[in-house]
């Protein structure tokens, strides 16, 4: 029997398969489809201090082997997540969840982190630093080592000893440098990648397809870039990495782990096939056996020489 267990800074997972934030809601949509307790865990929809409707529609565009979204962090706000979503989730999910948080200022991050860290259901805090920073000309926190480090420190201070993972954007020149800054600032781990900035134009309308002009590009197409960044970050830091970006098969999960990921998130693929995570979890042991992998933890970063 192969062993699929992995560990994220003390957060034990039965397997490394984690639906990614924004593609799995607060879980219960999927709980109608299959028992979501088979998942390693999942990362819930990016939550902000205040409720947000997000961007105007169209918010979705299609690309070769991928998609754009400009949802814009639609969520009911952290208080309602705690008051309604988590209790509802509790009925169908007995594992701890990853709380994905976002903000447009340091205070917003701190507010969300503090409230969610106090929740017993939360096993790990994933800090999305890809949103534009309203206090800094709109460049996202995650594009600069010092602001990423600042958010890391601020969130760590209120995290109630829960592991804090910084979720990095791929839209940067040097992702390893930013990951290193987060590690130095106390991050327990790194999640990457968030979506790449992309766009499409509607030739009939002669305008961008997305009402918001640009959007986040994800899906199979981004896999080689994501894998490369996981590889680079693995060489730069010693903390665990959750790899994601285009993962859509069991083999993709393993490639990510060989590159250095301790666990793997799956985003856009859930939208194409709501059963994809279940299918991968079911197939994983057989593929491991075929590739002669006994313990999944053995392969983390094993392609580095």
């Amino acid at each position: 029997m192969v062993n699929t267990h992995v560990n994220l800074s003390g957060f034990e997972l039965d397997n490394p398969v984690i639906p990614a934030s924004g593609t799995f809601g607060y879980g219960y949509e999927f709980a109608e489809l299959y028992d979501i307790n088979i998942l390693g865990t999942f990362s819930f929809k990016g939550t902000t201090r205040d409720p947000r409707f997000g961007n105007p529609t169209p918010r979705i565009a299609e690309c070769a082997s991928g998609m754009l979204n400009s949802v814009g962090l639609q969520n009911p706000g952290v208080d309602q997540v705690i008051a309604e979503e988590l209790p509802r989730l509790k009925k169908c999910f007995r594992k701890k969840v990853i709380a994905n948080i976002s903000g447009f200022s340091r205070d917003e991050y701190v507010c969300c982190a503090e409230k969610l860290a106090a929740q017993e259901q939360v096993g790990l805090i994933e800090v999305n630093v890809s949103c534009p920073n309203v206090h800094n000309g709109g460049m996202s926190f995650g594009t600069c080592p010092s602001s990423a480090a600042e958010i890391t420190r601020a969130v760590k201070a209120v995290a109630n000893h829960k592991p804090v993972y910084l979720k990095l954007t791929p839209n940067v020149t040097n992702v390893a440098e930013i990951a290193k800054a987060c590690e130095d600032a106390g991050a327990d781990g790194i999640s990457l990648i968030n979506t790449m900035l992309g766009m499409r134009i509607d030739l009939r309308k002669r305008k961008p397809v997305l009402a918001n002009t640009m959007g986040g590009f994800s899906g199979k197409a981004v896999f080689p870039v994501a894998l490369r960044m996981v590889w680079q970050v693995y060489e730069a830091v010693r903390i665990p990495i959750i790899g994601m970006g285009g993962v859509s098969s069991t083999e993709d999960v393993l490639e990510m782990m060989f590159a250095g990921a301790s666990a793997v998130q799956i985003g856009a693929a859930n939208l194409q096939n709501p059963f994809i995570c279940k299918e991968i979890i079911e197939e994983l042991p057989a593929v491991m056996e075929r590739l002669n992998i006994q313990n999944l933890t053995d392969i983390i970063g094993a392609a580095h020489s």
């Binding site: 924004g22 593609t23 799995f24 809601g25 949509e29 999927f30 109608e32 489809l33 929809k45 409707f53 997000g54 529609t57 169209p58 918010r59 979705i60 565009a61 299609e62 690309c63 070769a64 082997s65 991928g66 998609m67 979204n69 949802v71 639609q74 397809v209 899906g219 199979k220 856009a268 859930n270 939208l271 194409q272 096939n273 709501p274 059963f275």
Partner: protein
């Protein structure tokens, strides 16, 4: 109203052109997730990342009918599929129309590819001993489809064409002026038409909306809209909204 979605392979039993750029496809498979008229299916197509949402036009046993218009690469690809091929569908998506509100004499108002879901709705209403009337709007004679089918159900069916080449000249709202005393209305079509219908209608009613979708089953927030009753997802809380809740 909505049940649980299902994912399954459907076999193409028929796929043929019925009007300019309009095709009818019959698919055979597990249709048990479809619980209401106005629901849609989401179709995976080889080489396309996102599924294509198409309304259920008819359902009987394991045979599901859809009618679609070729407007882009995905629907063009569909139109070339040969019978015998299999398609991966998500079924049972969307809330669908609420037939319990219809009253005795509901009015069905469809425009272009908004017509298909009204056919299955009409059949369901008839099953419930209600007697709908039907207004179908198209651009031109060559675009018209469905007239015979609705008439074959024994329903009063009025056609309008924008260029006057067939039926009443003008929009569905021009025909709507001649209808009174209908108990309720159900509509599907382009957003401009839905707005006009909503404004012109004398009763309460339901409207089915379209939006570009990521998932089609409520997971991604790609299709959100604001309503008087709060934010809704067109794919899961819709596509059918009540006239009263729509914010235009």
């Amino acid at each position: 109203m909505a049940g649980c979605l299902k994912k399954g392979l459907f076999k193409i039993r028929k796929n043929r052109k019925i009007a300019k750029d309009i095709y009818l496809m019959i698919l055979q498979g597990d249709t048990s997730a479809v619980t209401a008229p106005g629901q849609f299916v989401n179709i995976a197509l080889n080489g396309f990342y996102l599924r294509r949402p198409i309304s259920v036009c008819d359902l009987s046993g394991d045979m599901l009918t859809i009618i679609y218009k070729v407007v882009g690469h995905g629907t063009a690809y569909m139109s070339k599929l040969e019978k015998g091929r299999h398609l991966d569908l998500l079924t049972g998506l969307g809330n669908g129309y609420d037939t319990s509100c219809s009253g005795d004499k509901p009015l069905l108002i469809g425009g272009g590819v908004g017509v298909p879901p009204l056919y299955y709705l009409a059949k369901k209403l008839l099953e419930q001993k209600k007697h709908p009337s039907v207004i179908l709007g198209f651009n031109s004679r060559e675009d018209v489809f469905g007239e015979q089918e609705f008439k074959a159900l024994g329903l009063e069916t009025v056609i309008t064409t924008a260029d006057g080449s067939y039926g009443i000249s003008g929009f569905v709202t021009d025909a709507l002026k001649n209808f009174h005393n209908y108990s309720y209305f159900y509509s599907c079509g382009p957003e401009a038409m839905l707005k006009a219908v909503s404004d012109a209608s004398e009763s309460s009613g339901e409207l089915s909306f379209e939006e570009r979708m990521g998932c089609g089953f409520g997971a991604c927030m790609g299709c959100s809209c604001k309503t008087k009753y709060g934010n809704k997802r067109i794919c899961k809380d819709g596509p059918v909204l009540k006239k009263e809740e729509v914010i235009w």
